[in-house]
């Protein structure tokens, strides 16, 4: 079930109302777990067995990690990592690796064909695998006690608001919240619903409208002018931000209604002054995951400049491939790694304000946005060749008109709404309505705007595929 559907709205209302009717935390945990199972099974029911498998492995790994010492602990951790990554490799990367090896093998042994598995990719596999891994690693590092209650642990992995596209949570943030009974709080409900409304607005009104421009331009990029290709590239920057941060807003809001706090996943990323700063503001839960569980164990910045750059490079390559089993994602990650290690970023003061002039700051923000936009082309294009053709089309400065796939009115509306959204984004998350009347009016207006200006359909979130 996707968030922008009637199915989800009915599901959300039922689960939330039921949640607050239950007077014991144990019953609430069971309700959330069973509803999360239903939520997941609306995609491909049988794949819940994969989740059950990894939940069992990691739950017992956690218990044993707590009780043991020395080499045994390393073995248990390795076993847990192998089980989780193994599932990821089989379902997500096997066919990619197999197809990538095929040309080399074919050259050596013409009659040999690498096998291709007829498997569907479980929705959100990369997200819940990483969340499960963070649990066993934290227990191994003794920063988190093992969870004794398997129902609570299962809920940690399967909690429906963040099950399929994050935020990728840490056990320290979630497990405690699942043990604690939270009474009904009207302020949480208001805050959560407003956050959800904002997420729906970003997804339905902006992302899905801008997606029409993006799809049109990418599908016909070989015939388009440089201006159109440039607009298409910027449109994708807007689309992917509104799509993914919109999803995060809905997830955070849906959870907040029940009093459960999820971590923030975005912090005005297109306002960053440098690529390194961008990654501290974009998909924060994933960036911090890679920082804590890959970059620092590799040595981080402690082993000299060259090694630091190499570590950054490796992290971004893995991060690219985490997004999808395709060399386009790999190259996207490598390029980010290259630019981040080359230009580590602007030094900021303690308050977070950059040193230097305002003009300089604007120039850096613009340059970063344009670079990120250019790199998104590798992320969106179906093949590397398409990406280079697209970029070539921008820089050959082909003349010709603007063809966006939308009429002028709707195109201008999309531009206006995007500007308004970016302008309001930072403030709206902190907005609080003391007045109930104002709250109800705002939610009502959001529904009206989302219905009348929203692109209503079953458009999936981009990050669901990962």
């Amino acid at each position: 079930m996707i968030f922008n559907s009637i199915h989800f709205l009915v599901f959300f209302i039922v689960v939330t109302v039921w949640f607050f009717r239950l007077q014991h935390q144990r019953s609430r945990v069971w309700l959330l777990l069973l509803s999360s199972c239903y939520f997941y099974m609306t995609f491909i029911p049988v794949y819940i067995l994969i989740l059950f498998f990894t939940i069992l492995v990691d739950y017992y790994a956690g218990l044993f990690l707590e009780r043991t010492d020395g080499r045994t602990r390393k073995l248990i951790l390795t076993g847990s990592i192998v089980a989780n990554i193994g599932v990821l490799v089989v379902f997500k990367y096997f066919n990619f690796l197999s197809a990538s090896l095929q040309p080399a093998l074919h050259a050596l042994f013409p009659s040999v064909h690498t096998p291709i598995l007829d498997l569907l990719l479980p929705i959100g596999l990369s997200f819940h695998t990483f969340q499960a891994l963070s649990y066993t690693i934290e227990v191994y590092r003794r920063k988190q006690p093992a969870e004794k209650d398997i129902v609570v642990y299962a809920l940690y992995v399967m909690y429906y608001p963040q099950l399929v596209a994050g935020p990728i949570e840490r056990p320290q943030n979630m497990l405690g919240q699942f043990h604690e009974f939270r009474p009904y709080n009207w302020n949480n409900v208001k805050e959560g619903l407003l956050r959800m409304s904002w997420g729906f607005f970003k997804k339905m009104v902006i992302a899905d409208r801008v997606a029409m421009i993006v799809d049109h331009v990418y599908d016909t990029h070989q015939q388009q002018s440089s201006l159109t290709l440039g607009i298409g590239a910027i449109a994708y920057s807007v689309q992917i931000y509104c799509d993914f941060s919109g999803y995060s807003d809905i997830a955070i809001g849906a959870s907040k209604v029940m009093g459960i706090k999820l971590m923030e996943n975005f912090r005005n990323p297109y306002g960053a002054q440098g690529l390194a700063a961008f990654w501290k503001r974009w998909h924060i839960s994933l960036s911090s995951w890679f920082r804590d569980y890959l970059y620092i164990p590799l040595g981080g910045g402690r082993r000299g400049a060259l090694r630091t750059r190499l570590n950054v490079f490796v992290v971004f390559l893995v991060s690219g491939l985490w997004h999808g089993a395709n060399w386009t994602f790999g190259l996207w990650g490598v390029l980010h790694g290259f630019f981040v290690s080359l230009f580590p970023g602007v030094k900021t003061t303690e308050g977070g304000m950059p040193n230097g002039s305002r003009v300089g700051a604007i120039a850096r923000v613009t340059a970063t946005f344009l670079l990120v936009t250019l790199l998104w082309i590798f992320f969106r294009a179906p093949t590397i060749q398409d990406a280079f053709t697209y970029i070539g089309g921008i820089f050959t400065l082909n003349g010709g008109g603007l063809s966006t796939g939308l009429n002028t009115t709707e195109f201008l509306l999309a531009v206006l709404l995007s500007i308004l959204m970016f302008g309001a984004e930072a403030r709206i998350k902190r907005f609080y309505f003391g007045s109930d009347v104002l709250f109800f009016v705002t939610v009502f207006l959001s529904v009206i705007v989302c219905y009348f200006l929203g692109v209503v359909g079953e458009t999936k979130f981009i990050y669901f595929q990962f």
Binding site: S5, H7, V14, T409, F452
Partner: protein, 342 residues
């Protein structure tokens, strides 16, 4: 107040659960749909489902919907001299052939129909000439040939991504369609729907939801059949290898049914309305398949007849994805011209 809140909460909970359960039941939703069709109407609070008048009309929510309404009225008078042979005819098809009256085929003593999406249970009859027709609409043919397992043929290696995405989407679509139908299919909601559709049409120049207007404004099309990409579209790019794959799969299916004892088998691909009525930019999927030198199965070439028609405007219904009564006649005549040979 507290008591009121509790009653309200339990009411929402019970109604919500009932709606979820009801929407997951195909037979329940169909029963509601059937009841609406018998008892609904413009003067009732529940809407009549417009399918008999055009399956895209109720999705388009246009103020001038009457322009697109045409009552479904499929009839066919079988020629008197069309033989009394001993053909057992089997049609594995979709809603196009489902609507055809049963007694229209020449030389046919028994007729069995089944959905192409369901497992095929046809068994050739002893002593009869067993003829099988597999009918698919153009918008589904690539999908069906890629992912279907109904012909006991292993799916191709590259089927998982496409099949998976669509399989997932189809369940989500099923639940959303049913919930929308149960919760919002009322006449009093129409002004809101129409306001949205008018906004889309008058200011953004596009149709509502899954429906789009033809360029001349005379027909409603499924959005996916005119999209620039996607397997359902008449205008999306189709590679030569994709065409070859379709041909090979059709040959494979042909061999499969011949081996099962069928005497003859035909394929028939019904063109999307957009293919015929708005041919500029057509990807040529049907003619490319049908002209392939590799193809060994016989086809009923409706595309050639439709695309060369002097009056293509009468081949399809205006507010529907299906052929008109006239379009259906052409297809039946085509089938009968083969049946009389047996």
């Amino acid at each position: 107040m507290r008591k009121f809140k509790t009653i309200f909460a339990y009411t929402v909970l019970v109604v919500g659960l009932l709606v979820m359960v009801a929407a997951s039941s195909k037979s329940f939703v169909f029963a509601v749909w059937d009841w609406h069709n018998k008892h609904g109407g413009d003067n009732k609070w529940y809407m009549i489902y417009h399918s008999p008048w055009g399956d895209l009309v109720s999705q388009a929510n246009l103020d001038n919907e009457k322009k697109y309404l045409e009552r479904k009225n499929y009839t066919y008078d079988r020629p008197a001299d069309c033989g009394k042979g001993n053909v057992a005819l089997y049609i594995l098809g979709d809603s196009y052939t489902r609507d055809i009256p049963d007694s229209v085929f020449c030389n046919v003593t028994s007729l069995e129909k089944s959905r192409v999406t369901q497992a095929c249970t046809f068994r050739p009859k002893k002593g009869a000439k067993n003829v099988l027709i597999i009918e698919m609409t153009e918008r589904y043919i690539r999908e069906m040939l890629h992912v279907t397992k109904d012909f006991s043929i292993p799916p191709p290696a590259n089927s998982s991504a496409a099949g998976g995405a669509d399989g997932v989407k189809s369940y989500a679509a099923f639940m959303n369609r049913n919930l929308e139908y149960l919760l919002f299919h009322f006449n009093f909601v129409n002004p809101i729907r129409r306001a949205k559709a008018s906004l889309g049409l008058n200011y953004f120049g596009r149709g509502s939801g899954n429906t789009v207007l033809s360029k001349d404004g005379e027909y409603l099309f499924f959005r996916s059949t005119v999209a620039p990409n996607g397997r359902f579209s008449s205008y999306s790019y189709v590679s030569d290898s994709e065409v070859d794959f379709c041909v090979k799969k059709m040959n494979y299916i042909y061999d499969h049914f011949k081996a099962k004892g069928f005497d003859e088998m035909y394929f028939s691909v019904i063109p999307n309305p957009a293919t015929i009525l708005q041919p500029e930019g057509y990807n040529g999927l049907i003619p490319r398949i049908q002209k392939s030198a590799m193809l060994k199965v016989k086809v009923f070439d409706l595309f050639s007849v439709f695309s060369s028609s002097a009056n293509p405007d009468v081949l399809y219904r205006k507010g529907d994805t299906h052929w008109s009564d006239y379009g259906m006649h052409i297809w039946i005549d085509m089938v009968n011209s083969e049946m009389v040979k047996y």
